[in-house]
Each structure stands twice: as C-alpha cells, then as structure tokens.
C-alpha cells in the first residue's frame, strides 16, 4: 500500500502506523461513562469507505486522516489531522 502524504508525497506503507477509525470523536470532559465507553470501545468496522487515522512516523510525523476502502484497500483521499504543524485551530 502507498499513502500520499499531503506533505511528503507518495510513500510506502512501512513509513506509516495505523490507529483506526477516525469517526469517533473524543467526548468532552463532561461526558458520561457510557459516552466515553462508546468512544473507546465500539466500532462501525466499516466494510467499504472508511476514514481512519494514520501516523507518518517514519516521515514527517504528521497524523493523517485517510479515506480508504476496506474491501479493496484503495485510498481516495488523505488530509492532515486538524492540528498538524502550526495550523491555527479554532478562534
């Protein structure tokens, strides 16, 4: 598999580390135990297009959001995580 890092260009799978589904969002501090449980443990485990987190640890150390088809492994989009580099987030 090859992933096109938005910063480095197309790179070999071995430079990346997989985390998993990028859909679950970490609940706020006020969230209930059930909500956090859902975030930590339950997965859609999509068969098809899935948005997922990959880390380009063997390259520029950017966390990436990769849209990949779990049936074919084809990658259709790669974007940086919100806080990559010096991006200003929020206000």
């Amino acid at each position: 598999m090859r992933i096109v890092c938005p910063f480095c260009g197309e790179r070999e799978l071995g430079e990346f580390t997989y985390l998993g589904d990028a859909k679950p969002v970490r609940p706020a501090a006020s969230a209930s135990e059930d909500e956090v449980f859902d975030y930590v443990y339950l997965r859609d485990n999509v068969a098809g297009q899935m948005s997922e987190y990959w880390y380009h640890g063997g390259g520029c150390r950017a966390w990436l959001k990769v849209t990949r088809n779990t049936l074919t492994h084809e990658i259709s989009a790669v974007e940086p995580a919100a806080g990559v580099g010096a991006r200003k987030v929020g206000a």
């Binding site: 135990e33 640890g57 995580a81």
Partner: protein, 994 residues
C-alpha cells in the same frame, strides 16, 4: 568435468554456445552440456528420460515442460548447505560443475522402494486418510503420522544455515511489463518511445518468449532478428530497463509489485560481495502482464509416462536447445498450434510417428505434409501409453468411430490448448472469465493500473500479440503523462488457432490431472461423489493444484472434469482464488539483509564503546544494547558482580548510562496545559527548575507509561519516558497534540539521541559531581534541592543538565551532556571518581535498587494495571480531565479485590524467589480458585542479604504481614513468603533527600 557424448543433441542450431561446454552430474553420473542449456535441456541432450518420482505413488516421471510450470522434473540442486530442494530442472541454468539429484525416492531413482505405494493405489485415493488412521488414538503421532511425513514431502532442505546472502531493493517506473515475448517487447517499445520510465521483467535468461522456439516473421524479418533490433532500440532509450532472470510474482496495493531476481543462480555460488537473489519491490503507475500462456496437457491413461511432453516443450528443446526428447515422435493435439511440432520435428530430422488430432477436420495442408513425410493422421484421441521408467514405447489411439490403433513411438507430444497466465491479473481476488473460442479463462478484471496483453490476454496469434502489447504500452505511457510518439506497431500475421476442447480421455489406467500430487481423473469423480463439488473443496480434498507448480498445468483440466461430472459448464464451476507468488520464491530473499545479527537494527548508547572496553556484559533491551553488569576478574557469577555494584553505590558512588530513556522536548505556551491532559497528575503548576514524576494512562484507564518531567523554562518542559515505550509515547503525544487537542500551542521534538544521560548515585555523589561540574554551581541541598532540575556548566565549559532525581533511593543526580560528549563523560567520571572508588553499574544493579526501593517498572506496568494497582492512585487528579480518567473509573477497575503491588520476602532467608511464581494462600491447594497473583520482579538484595520481590497480589496492600505461599510448579520451587511493604530500603526517603 566433461562427460559422455550428448547422444540427443542435434548437430547444429539452437541458442546454446557450443564453444562453452559444461560438465555436470545428475544422481552421481557425469554428463556434458553447453552454456545456454537448462538442466532439463542438458538431460534431454544426454538421453535422460527418468528424472523424478511422484509425490504419492512414486511413479516414474520425466520432463513435461520447458518452463516454470514444470510439475515433474524437480531435483535437489547443489550440495551441502546450498542444497535446494524441488528445483525445476526446466528453469535451472546449467553451469560447469552443476550437481543435481533426483528426490523422493529410495534407494535410487530407478529402483524406488516407495513405488510399493502403487500397490496400495486402490486404497490411496483422494482423501483416504480422512477415513482411517483413527484407531487407536495414540497411534497417530506415534506410528501413522511419522510414516506419512517421511513418505510425503519431496526434496530435502539442507538443514543448515543458508550460506548465501540476499538483498532487497526498490524500483520505480511508469510502466512495468511482465514478460519479454512479442507482446511484452512491443509494449516496451511503445512505452519507451513515448518517454515513459519502463521496467520489463523476464523470468528466462534470454529475452524473446515463444519465438525463441517457434520463430515467426515480424515486420518482414525473422523473429530473432526483430528481437535483436528491438533490444538495441530499447537499450538506446534512457529509461528502459530490462531485467532478465526476474519473475514478477505478485501485485500488491498502490501499484507495488513483487519480483525476484535470480542474480547468481546460474553460477555455482555467488561471487564475493554479491547476493544470490534480490527481492524487488517495484512501484509502477501502470503494469502490463505479457506473461504469455501455458500449454495444457490432456488427461489420459499413462499421460505421466516419461517421454510424454507438452508439444511446445518438445519444440523448445529442439529449436532452442538443439536437444531431442525423442527420435520418433507422436503428436496428440486438439488444436492448430500443436501442429507446429510436426514442422519443428521434421525440420530437425526427427520422425513423426503419427499425429492424433481430436478435431474432426484437419487442413489439406497438414494432410499434404503428412503424405509427404509419411506419417498417419489419426482422428481420435490417445487412450493409453505403453512404457515406464525407460520412456514411451507405444501409444494406443482410440479412433473416432470406435476402432483402436497402436503407434510405436519413443515420445509423445501433447497439446490440449493454451491457458493464458491469469495469475497476476487475479491476485486481487479477481476472477477470470471464460472465453469460448480458445476454451480458456482470460482476465476479466485486474488490480488498479494493470492490464493484460497478448497471449496472457487470450490473443494467441503473433500479430495480435504485437498489436495488443504495443497498444497497451502506448496507452500506459499516455496514462502516466508521457506524450512522446510511439510510432507504428510491429506487425505479423494472424495465424489461425482452432481448437476443439478435449480434457479427458476416458479409459483404463491412471490418468493424471495433477502430476506432482498424483491427482487422477477418478479422484475428481470421487470428490464430486462425496460432495466436494465447489472447486475450493475439490482443491482441498484432492490437493489438486497445491503442488509446487501451483496448478499451472492442472487446474483448468481439473475443473473441466469436475464440470463434466457434476453436469455444469466450466464457467459455472469457476476457478479457485489465485494466490501469489506466481512462482515459488526463496524465503531467504524475502528476508534479505535482515537475518542473523542484522535481523533488526541495533541502538548503541553514547558510552557503549567505553563500556565495551570495560568488559561490560550487554543485554538486549528492545533494539538497545545496554551494559547489564561489569564483571571483574575473580567474580564467579553475575550475582557477585551485581551485588558488588549495588554495594558500591549504596556505600559510595556509582554511575549508569540511562540514555535509553525516551526524551522529549515539550515547547510552547500551552506545554503545561498539554501535560496536564496526558498525565494523571498536574504539571502546569510545576515550578521552573523542578522535576516531577508523572504517570500517563491509556484512554481505557490502564497505566501506559511513567517518567520524570522537568520544567526548564516557562514554555519548555523536558519529558522522559521508559526505554521500552519511547517511540510509542512520542506517537501518542503527537496524536494528542495534532488530533485530540489541536487548539493547544505546543511543539514536540524527540531529543532522545541528543543527550547522553547518566545516573550518578550514592552518598558520595556530590563529591564526584563537584569534580565534574563548574565550581560555581551550587550543589548543596539548598542550592539544588531534591527534584531540582536545571542547566549547569561543567568543568571545561560545556553545558549540561542536572536533575536531582533518584531511582535507586540514594542521594542521586542524573546528569546529561550532548551525546558526542557521552563517551567523555564516562571517562571523566571514572577519572574524577577514582579517589572515591566510583563504580560503573549496569541495568541489573539498577533493577536491584529499584526493587529495594519499591519503584514499579516494566513487569508491573504490564498493560493491565491501574494507577491504584501500582499504589499510585493518589496521583490521579480530581481537578482536571486527562486521558483515561473516565474509563479508569469502571467498576471492575476499582474493585476492592484487584491484584495490587506489594512487597514479597521469603520467610526462610535462604529461599530464592523467582519471577513468575504464583501466590497461593498458605495452606491452600493451588488451583484456579486459590491463585491470587504472582511475583513480578525479584532480586537478591545486598542490603537485606536475601532475595526479595514485588508482586501483584489480590488485596495485597490489606494483607501486609500475611504469610502466603509462592507456587512455582514449572521450576519445582515453593516457598512461604511474607507480604510486605514494597519499599524495602529507606522507607522515609531520607537518603535521597539528604
């Protein structure tokens, strides 16, 4: 080494170099061949027909093909440590001194005692072993299985380390082409002329494909001349690379292809500094499979007799190698292509005994040729072969209409049609489709970026191969943005390919579908009868297609027979899933450089070479080599060395390289806020110049890592991790920074390799440090209190850092200097500390002191313990959110009966504790219900003069003082031990604060 005359070598012709004679040995006999021969062609040239024995029945087998699809002619090539089992004689290049032996026979190929299996053939049908060998139950491992294992298998591996080297490399191109036949060369021409970066892989050692044997006319010139001109043109293009002896074996995601280059297999052994084989990972934007087609056998009784050979192979041996598999050849064909064999044989002065053509009509031209050459054309099929290990003597022909005829011949060429090589196009689980006119499967879909061209795509005429290849090459170049002119495609005639499908000739006697695995037509019928109708069941039940030829000659015939007996069409019956590699690939090639001590990289600490000079014993910790202890002359074992080191520290001063700890610079205005979210305790309120121990959890509430973090400036923290988790914590923190908390202004950098960091410990630590640190630095308790951290100037002017932290429980500092000074720091400490008796200590002494002090480490941070389990629950802040906070509160993680860290001390001071022993209440029988925990860490404590340990014990902290039992059935050691405080040494911490 030049042996006897080559009795079956033609006087002239062939692509062999007669000026380069080569000697070789097969089964101990000496033979001669020429440069350019394969082992198979050389054996044929010497009249050798019997080459191997089959898997199950040990039937005599000869050479069936001239390529990598060979099921029969497998040999053990080379000797000793270089012995290669199951090597296809048909692809093994001949070299001078080659040694090969037949396999799977005892005591010899000609007199194989295992051929007795043929007597049991009536019982040894497909799957027979599932129905027997069940009683008595104990006999399977004792009797049946060893016998089966010995009989099964083919060649013998060397059994000793492979002495050759392998490596792996990457290549990148626009257009990758598999196969150098007409389609592949035309594709390379078109793509190369367009300006594309092209790689063409050819598994053979000669470029050209089928025309090497079958000739033909291209662009008005003989094929050989066209190939030669094409190669010249390709060589002149800047970015076209032709790799011979290289098989494209697989296609993976993102345009990554696997290829194996047999760099030096054509030599007795690789030249010095060179590898035997190289694994290529070829990244291609487009790929073209021009891998040709494989001629398929027809299943009939006796079709495995040595001397029965694929018609195309007969032509290859005669034309390319000038070797004659037989002198009086019969041809059995169901298609037009087979007839080429007649021309080839006659051209070489061989006799045609008869042509048996299964098609109803034979062209007038063929009839005229037959009349002229004086051989009969028989409309029908071959129903039997007379012969044996000495070869074919006679064939029986069932003529259309029912009559039978016999033909004397010493060889039988067979053509059942051709199967396009659909492997590569199908490796992403694509299923090929059936094409009626050629009665074969052709690619239907292919992995992204891949197309098939030529015979691999079902185009069997020379003209079509050239057109398809050229068009595919031009299109691929266009797709990759190369817009040069491809020019015109090479042209050739479109010969007719007429075929009447014929898979199986019914008759008496064993008719083989899968030669190597001895799968017969009746085995397939049996499988159908027993319900194994799915082709995947068929394959698994009969082992059809699972041999080293991967079913290249057998699969389609097998499923055609299954289709016939189950009353379905062939496409309805379908194919099995195609799986890489396309040809078997040496495991050593996949490993490449990464074997033996190069299996993984090695990390060395800044003081490594100094420690090595000191005679340190090193231990592997992840990728690191760390000094474990420093033996001195006269010390009888490690324990004596370690005990001395501990005593030296506790009584004086010692130092230890702790550079392996992960070190991370945390910068930015929000650095404190960031650390508050990743640690369970608070860091935003840490004063500049101070250090604090921190504990981080995973999001599931379990302890992840620990370490000391110092605040060096308002916006700069220096964080340390454990050695084991350094990389993972960095990744985790980047995740927190970039994904979870992107609003925080914080920057992270690993500085693990920037700093050499040593722990200096013992009551004389300050005395030693004063020799190292600039005299102006205040090291007193007031000037540098416990948990202080700051930059200092060292004697000589360089800058370093001091951290007043202690893992050992002694008065201690950690000192860090830029890594290139690490070696000097060790030497300087030794020099300066000489009057103080300074002692370097290793990880063992470090471990002893941390256990004496009750500090938790890897064995306690085992991925299932909570902060409270470790006795650190009070660190969990209730005033802020942090990773893992919520999940840590789940009922089972806060249950009162959890196993928690506690100290363990044998009642009898001479008992030796061992990690991994379990804790059982005293007086109870060990069992699942009484298993209350286990010993996590142990050491011999020089301070207490006995073995001590830490353990995770159910309700351990409530049971301090209780006598329990350590149960260790593995090592047969059971002791009474007392549960105690984990802090064995200086419980109030006076020494480290002093």
């Amino acid at each position: 080494m030049v042996g006897r005359a080559q009795t079956h070598r033609l006087e002239k012709g062939g692509l062999i170099d007669r000026s380069a004679p080569l000697g070789f040995r097969f089964d101990g006999k000496t033979f001669a061949g020429f440069q350019g021969d394969t082992l198979a062609s050389a054996l044929i040239a010497n009249g050798v027909k019997l080459v191997g024995r089959s898997f199950k029945y040990h039937r005599p087998r000869g050479i069936l093909t001239a390529g990598s699809e060979e099921p029969n002619a497998l040999v053990e090539l080379r000797n000793g440590a270089r012995r290669e089992p199951n090597t296809k004689a048909t692809t093994a290049e001949l070299y001078d001194g080659l040694e090969a032996a037949s396999q799977n026979r005892w005591p010899s190929l000609r007199h194989d005692m295992m051929a007795v299996n043929q007597l049991f053939a009536p019982i040894f049908v497909a799957g027979f072993y599932y129905k027997t060998f069940m009683w008595p139950a104990k006999f399977w491992e004792a009797i049946y299985e060893p016998a089966i294992r010995r009989a099964a298998g083919l060649g013998r591996a060397s059994g000793v380390a492979d002495p050759d080297h392998y490596d792996k490399a990457w290549a990148h191109c626009d257009v990758l082409i598999a196969g150098s036949g007409p389609a592949g060369l035309a594709a390379a021409l078109a793509a190369g002329r367009s300006g594309a970066r092209v790689i063409l892989c050819e598994e053979d050692f000669v470029v050209g494909g089928r025309p090497l044997a079958d000739g033909g006319t291209i662009d008005g010139m003989p094929a050989a001349e066209w190939i030669s001109r094409t190669l010249s043109e390709l060589a002149a293009l800047p970015d076209v690379r032709i790799m011979t002896r290289t098989t494209l074996f697989g296609v993976y995601d993102g345009g990554t292809h696997g290829a194996i280059e047999r760099v030096n297999d054509h030599l007795p052994s690789p030249p010095e500094h060179q590898v035997r084989q190289r694994l290529w990972r070829i990244v291609a934007k487009r790929s073209i499979v021009a891998a040709g087609a494989i001629e398929r056998p027809i299943v009939f009784a006796g079709n495995d007799t040595p001397g029965v050979m694929m018609a195309s192979a007969v032509r290859s041996y005669v034309e390319r190698y000038a070797a004659t598999p037989a002198r009086r050849i019969a041809l059995f064909t169901n298609n037009e292509d087979g007839w080429r064999t007649v021309e080839t044989a006659l051209g070489a002065g061989l006799q045609i005994a008869a042509v048996v053509d299964a098609r109803p009509d034979v062209s007038p031209a063929h009839r005229a040729l037959a009349a002229k050459a004086g051989f009969p054309i028989m409309n029908g099929s071959v129903g039997g072969v007379d012969g044996g290990k000495h070869g074919v003597r006679k064939i029986t022909v069932s003529l259309t209409g029912g009559a039978r005829a016999e033909v004397e011949a010493d060889g039988l060429a067979v053509s059942g049609g051709w199967n396009p090589a659909v492997g590569l196009t199908s490796y992403h689980r694509g299923r090929p489709k059936w094409q009626n006119d050629i009665a074969a499967f052709v690619p239907d879909s292919a992995p992204p970026g891949m197309v098939a061209a030529g015979a691999a795509n079902g185009a069997f005429s020379l003209g079509a191969c050239l057109r398809q290849g050229f068009a595919a090459g031009a299109a691929a170049a266009q797709d990759t943005g190369r817009s040069g002119k491809a020019g015109t495609a090479p042209a050739a005639d479109d010969e007719a390919f007429s075929l009447t499908p014929l898979w199986h000739v019914a008759g008496k006697g064993k008719a083989f579908v899968d030669y190597q695995h001895d799968v017969t037509a009746s085995d397939i019928e049996l499988a159908q009868r027993e319900g194994f109708e799915s082709v995947e069941h068929l394959k698994r039940y009969t082992t059809l297609g699972m041999a080293t030829d991967q079913g290249k000659t057998s699969n389609v015939a097998g499923l055609a027979i299954m289709a016939a007996v189950s009353g379905k069409s062939i496409p309805e019956t379908g194919t099995t899933i195609y799986r890489p590699p396309y040809v078997p690939v040496a495991i050593g090639a996949f490993a490449g450089h990464h074997r033996d001590e190069n299996f993984h990289a090695t990390r060395l600490t800044p003081s490594h070479h100094w420690a090595s000079e000191q005679g340190a014993v090193f231990v592997d910790t992840g990728l690191w080599k760390r000094a474990q202890w420093y033996p001195r002359p006269g010390e009888k074992d490690w324990l004596e060395s370690v005990t001395r080191e501990v005593k030296a520290v506790r009584g004086g001063v010692g130092f230890c390289d702790v550079s392996t700890l992960g070190k991370i610079d945390v910068h930015g205005p929000d650095a404190g806020a960031f650390l508050d979210r990743v640690y369970i305790n608070t860091f935003s309120n840490l004063a500049v110049g101070k250090a604090r121990y921190g504990l981080m959890l995973r999001e599931d509430g379990i302890v992840y890592d620990d370490g000391t973090t110092s605040r060096l400036a308002e916006d700069h923290y220096f964080l340390t991790t454990t050695t084991a988790k350094a990389g993972l914590v960095m990744q985790h923190l980047e995740f927190c920074r970039q994904v979870l908390f992107p609003e925080l202004d914080v920057q992270l950098t690993s500085v693990s390799d920037q700093w050499a960091q040593f722990s200096i410990a013992g009551p004389k630590t300050r005395d030693l440090l004063r020799e190292i640190v600039d005299p102006a630095e205040d090291l007193s308790n007031e000037g540098f209190p416990f948990m202080g951290a700051r930059e200092v100037t060292l004697r000589g002017g360089i800058k370093g850092r001091l951290f007043r932290i202690s893992f050992s429980g002694e008065m201690a500092f950690e000192i860090s200097v830029p890594a290139r000074y690490g070696d000097a720091l060790a030497r300087n400490l030794m020099l300066a500390g000489k009057p103080l008796g300074v002692t370097p200590y290793g990880t063992e002494a470090l471990g002893v002191m941390r256990i004496e002090k009750g500090h938790v480490a890897g064995p306690e941070l085992n991925g299932t313990t909570t902060a409270a389990d470790l006795g650190l629950g009070k660190m969990m802040s209730t005033k802020k959110d942090y990773i893992g906070r919520v999940m840590a509160g789940r009922e089972a993680l806060v249950a009162p009966d959890r196993q928690v860290v506690v100290g363990i001390k044998p009642v009898d001071k001479t008992s030796r504790l061992r990690s991994g022993a379990h804790i059982i209440p005293k007086g109870r029988t060990p069992g699942p219900d009484t298993d209350q925990g286990y010993v996590t860490s142990v050491c011999f404590s020089p301070v207490l003069d006995q073995w001590i340990g830490l353990g995770l014990v159910e309700r351990g902290r409530e049971r301090i003082g209780e006598i329990v039992h350590t149960h260790d059935p593995l090592r047969g050691e059971d002791y009474d031990v007392e549960l105690c405080s984990p802090v064995f040494y200086d419980p109030d911490g006076g020494r480290q604060r002093g």
